[in-house]
Symmetry: C2
Subunit: 254 residues, 2 copies
């Protein structure tokens, strides 16, 4: 099943647009696997997908423990996203994408800054062949995002000056990306990106909670999926917190 279809199904089932970011602290490596699976089981009724970061892939092994987490997500009907932010040269990008998709991830993230030819083209080719998704970074949630994603760049053909993230949003359209990431901490940027993408490419927004992003502001601006990590994973009761976050997000959609 293609990534977007799988995600739509999951959104309906949980009445939720919350993507859980499994960001677990690293000081207890042996508890990472059981804790990850426990959090998935506790939160699955209120989330639509799971995003995994290198915080888990580095201490755990991709084709061992990570596959057990992916199997657990699959059994719970949750699509999985690998937040690997691919940004290497083409032949390496292709191999990275193949490994993550083979391990079972339904989608991955990539940085459009590397460009198309010998850059992300091989990633989109592998994704198409394996029926998986590619989500592009358009504006990240941290303070220095302004330095790169927010810088003003010149169009090499027209000479026109435009924000970098606008050029990235246009690449997402022309490359047929399955989604874009815009930090919930920047609702004005979400609005501009949404005006370019309309409903053709959905916006994923991390940075809610610990990083200061506001669910309502992001949703009103055009975010379709909210990526929530530490607010849920580090809470005393992830089940209750996931439900609470899901409810706030659902109310914001009205």
């Amino acid at each position: 099943m293609p990534f977007q279809l799988k995600l739509d199904k999951s959104v309906k089932k949980a009445s939720s647009n919350i993507v859980l970011a499994l960001d677990l602290p690293s000081h207890q490596p042996h508890s990472l696997l059981p804790r990850s699976i426990q959090i998935l089981e506790e939160t699955h009724p209120y989330i639509c997908a799971v995003k995994i970061n290198r915080q888990l892939v580095l201490p755990l092994c991709l084709f061992k423990e990570i596959q057990r987490i992916l199997k657990s997500a699959q059994d719970l009907g949750l699509p999985t996203i690998m937040d690997c932010k691919i940004n290497d040269v083409g032949h390496t990008n292709r191999i990275i994408a193949e490994y993550y998709y083979k391990a079972g991830f339904d989608a991955l993230t990539a940085n459009p800054f590397v460009g198309w030819n010998e850059g992300l083209k091989p990633v989109f080719e592998v994704a198409k062949k394996m029926d998986r998704g590619v989500i592009l970074l358009v504006y990240m949630s941290h303070k220095a995002a302004e330095e790169g994603y927010g810088q003003t760049v010149q169009n090499p053909e027209t000479g026109q000056l435009r924000p970098q993230y606008v050029t990235f949003a246009e690449k997402a359209l022309s490359w047929n990306a399955d989604g874009v990431v815009v930090g919930a901490t920047y609702p004005k940027k979400i609005r501009i990106v949404h005006s370019i993408l309309q409903e053709k490419v959905p916006i994923y927004s991390p940075g809610v909670g610990n990083q200061g992003g506001d669910i309502k502001a992001a949703t009103k601006a055009g975010t379709r999926y909210l990526i929530v990590g530490r607010t849920i994973t580090l809470s005393v009761n992830p089940n209750e917190t996931a439900k609470r976050v899901r409810d706030i997000a659902t109310q914001s959609l009205r």
Copy 2:
């Protein structure tokens, strides 16, 4: 021992400025570990360091098989670089860097596009604390490098238009990076970057051989270390090929 000192020592010992990129094909996962160690043993007299990519870290486990490769490199007196091209938000970048350094890598690569505050600052902090290196991507070796690294950007303070890679080279200076990457496929860019960095921050150049970069042109333009992968790793006799590449590079330095 700090990364640069370790590297200088190794350069003298092997009379070589060749960094071996352990890029092994992925179709035989079980042979990756023994083959990696075998290539290290065959090539170590002619190389000054080893660079490992996600092509090895994903199929092998960081704290298991990869550590055996790092141990082997260490026993041969070779410094190791993890080419992870860090480009996430700060708290994740910090954890990624900690994992790679804890596993034993002497240096890692990072993308200056993410900026400083809540971006790469935590990576430099961890590196300083653990006495390791950070190498920044300034201009990559692939065709689409022009789209990002080669684009024209506006200085937010002066309004001046400049190439992106020039701004990255300046960040390398002000952030006290231990090296920068500029593709051997772009000798003119190497020359410009070298004119900014002088001998303060060394240039590493990948893209020699399979990607079309020329050792002599890159060296004349200012490259200090040549990153060579498939030309050596996929050759019939890696030992002989490493020696031949080392000799060409040494001659170019004269």
